[in-house]
Subunit: 77 residues, 2 copies
């Protein structure tokens, strides 16, 4: 199965949502990307439709924005 990608930026809201989503989906189904650290992947996240973090891009391409930790502008600093 194609993996989901969970984008976050290390904020408390992000980490909490990450733990919950991994508990629900299973770690093997999710790639976790910290775009606060891996800034090279910010463009990839934006291109997928991510406008805030935490967000999960499902295998079908749909973006699920989960709660609200930070906007992409915040992440870019």
């Amino acid at each position: 199965m194609k993996k989901s990608i969970f984008y976050h930026a290390g904020c408390p809201v992000c980490i909490s949502a990450e733990h919950d989503m991994i508990a629900l989906i299973g770690a093997e189904g999710v790639e976790v990307v910290n775009i606060g650290e891996e800034k090279a992947r910010i463009a990839e996240a934006e291109s997928a439709g991510v406008v805030s973090v935490p967000a999960l891009v499902a295998p079908n391409g749909n973006v699920l924005h989960i709660n609200f930790g930070a906007s992409m502008e915040d992440v870019k600093g």
Copy 2:
């Protein structure tokens, strides 16, 4: 395993998120509640911390607000 509860109100954002979450978690792990139709369960959702729909209440009690379809005030009409 204790089930998650997915609260929604029938809006297009809700239905899309419902399909995505069920694809990710599996239908057997999620109870789906349409609080637009089952208005008696609005209080239960609010008590769990749901402030907008769609939202998933995880087995650990954490509330994941997924995208934004409608506020609880909208649902109450």
